[in-house]
Symmetry: none
Subunit: 401 residues, 2 copies
């Protein structure tokens, strides 16, 4: 396999790689023949970098497939997202910045309402306030299940992340949410023999939770679904020989970075500026930096074309700070497209540029979907980017004699 | 696997997709530096559509491989033609519009001449007239083999399609045609244990045929080869959630469409115009339409450059009728190339355009091999077209969160 090939050929180097991921970067024009968000944005710094770079479009998962953020990031990090699946429960825990470990079984949790017979009357407990949720989560966190630790991380309204930590837990479990009212919550069943212990522990937890919540109407019961452990995958150090750091403000991206063995850096502040300051601060300490920009995706999902344009321009203004550090390789790309006309993630291939002093620069004077479509990288699986970056960083030895 | 991934992510929608397959579309110029048939043709409608589409070239089977019509069509329908093989006998039956089913074992048949010792003297029975063939086929159709139905479908001169219908027939069978004269026809041997029943039944049929034909010199014996059942594959409904219809005039294309679960529509008449009228007539009843144009390939195989140009122009003139229906996604492509300078199918990648309101249009103002070679779809496996079309029709859910 290709990834094993890379691992075998990795050689040490002092070079530094920066991967700037502009979330949901790819877009669409508002009307036929028009410009995309990226093409509309005034990006003199990215355009100047593009002229010295090779360009292309990345396909995160497969042609026609719209990726979630998890698969999109795994792909650009060089991990086949169809091989390494991040389950929904695990993503939920990562999203609240929970440091999910290899012994952790995660699930998406809801508070719900049941009647005196235990039948569900409201699957969302009337969307209780987040403060109520926080109190109840604290209460549930007091439950002790033999040889297991349980963490209840409140999210918004009725939602929480459930994590049970214990050795030997497997995640082939049925869900407790029957997805309708008027019936009892379902017990958890093990879907394979290895998951028996987990099923037993989770059912114990649910019983204890039910008892604790009896008088907490409308949030007098819980539902759990999407049980998942993190996939086990070789980290950046092992696979690429890179001491890697992640700079991201949101939990999920920090979580995925942690999953691939990056050190997640503390960012002082909450702005893009703060993220770039963090890059400068830790510049000497790592070989590889993943820097995540969230706003572009947020505006894309809101359908705010101009907002996304502005967010891209904000990134562009900070590019000189990045280049001042004189990285050997710079990748500017995205985890997926989020065209504002679709108000969602999309299947469209994602613009990418790769700069190093050793690329064959395409010489296009603009970083945009159209120039990238004609770039010399071609339209390629996103998993190809890391090997090309490593090569440009002179970190891959010759194959064969 | 990729195709399973699509199947899992399919969501319902009201959108409509039209796939216009111009058989043998790809071509070559007559002299170096010249224009291909498609580039020579005056195609204002396709050119205008191209400007709003993304374009590319499709590779039906693999680089350098010249596809037959069966594999070429399976590929553009999204089925790996190396995984799903349509044997020659099955293709022969499909070619005469025989409704081949899952219990049918098909073969290519010849009437031949044998001497009094049973040795073959003419493998083609002096190319008997088609009317004689029709009479003899009727005669052979009277043969009854226990628990099997037999169908003999006359083709041209000495050729016929043989179909035996019975449960439990397998197609790992040796051929009876020794490919030379002066020897006896070979008995059928089972090449695996599962095919014993089929071998036994077919040998019984051949004995009965021999007896019936004794006095029918020169067509006093038969030869059978290319035994094949249809591959079993998931249909369009199952795999793509599409209620699909096929509009094609020739048996083989109707047969391949039936194989992938399309409903083959009756076309009143025999012209391209009639095919487009059929599209209009059934527009409300289906989600997906495959419309097949035959003449381009016919002219290509005849080496008639101008004829192929004219056939393409004939298609172009009908494009407005297609667009008037306001399909959400339009694919215009081919099953393979048939350059008239080669007078045959060829290995050349096939031009394709894909229109929807959500494509990033390449903006090329001509539909031709050269523009397609620079299109943003790239030069891609033909099997990628269906996922991309489904994505544009908003029929694929997000993968992962």
């Amino acid at each position: 396999m290709n990834s094993n090939l890379i691992q075998k050929l990795i050689i040490p180097s002092e070079t530094k790689i920066v991967m700037l991921i502009i979330d949901g970067l790819g877009g669409l024009s508002r009307e036929p023949g028009g410009k995309t968000e990226l093409e509309t944005a005034h990006t003199p710094n990215l355009d100047a970098l593009a002229e010295r770079s090779c360009m292309g479009l990345t396909i995160p998962v497969a042609p026609g497939i719209t990726p979630g953020s998890g698969p999109g990031h795994l792909a650009i990090f060089g991990y086949d997202p169809l091989q390494y699946e991040i389950g929904r429960g695990a993503l939920e825990a990562l999203g609240v910045d929970f440091e999910l470990g290899p012994d952790d079984l995660a699930a998406r949790g809801n508070f719900c309402t049941v009647d005196t017979d235990g039948r569900i009357t409201d699957r969302r407990a009337g969307r209780i306030g987040t403060e109520v949720n926080q109190d109840l989560a604290k209460l549930l966190s007091t439950i002790r299940i033999e040889q297991s630790e349980v963490f209840i991380e409140p999210i918004k309204e009725h939602r929480f992340a459930f994590v049970m930590r214990s050795q030997g837990l497997h995640d082939a479990l049925s869900e407790t949410d029957p997805q309708r009212t008027g019936v009892l919550p379902l017990p958890v069943h093990a879907l394979d023999p290895d998951s028996e212990k987990a099923a037993c522990n989770v059912n114990q937890f649910i019983s204890a939770a039910k008892a604790l919540l009896t008088h907490k109407h409308p949030a007098n019961m819980i539902l759990l679904r999407g049980f998942a452990k993190l996939p086990i995958l070789p980290g950046f150090q092992e696979r690429y020989g890179l001491k890697a750091a992640a700079i991201a403000l949101n939990g999920m991206y920090r979580g995925v970075a942690r999953l691939v063995g990056m050190q997640v850096l503390n960012v002082t502040g909450t702005t893009l500026n703060d993220e770039f300051a963090t890059l400068q601060k830790y510049w000497r300490d790592f070989d590889f930096f993943y820097l995540h920009v969230k706003k572009t995706d947020t505006f894309g999902e809101l359908g705010d074309f101009d907002g996304k344009v502005g967010a891209i321009e904000e990134v562009d203004a900070l590019i000189p700070r990045l280049l001042d550090l004189q990285p050997d390789v710079v990748i500017v790309g995205g985890d997926h497209s989020s065209p504002s006309v679709l108000k969602s993630h999309s299947w469209h291939p994602v613009p990418v540029l790769l700069y190093s002093r050793y690329v064959r620069a395409d010489g296009f004077t603009e970083f945009g979907e159209n120039t990238c479509a004609h770039g010399s990288l071609g339209t390629i699986p996103a998993t190809h980017i890391m090997p090309i970056a490593l090569a440009n960083a002179q970190r891959i030895a010759k194959y064969g004699a």
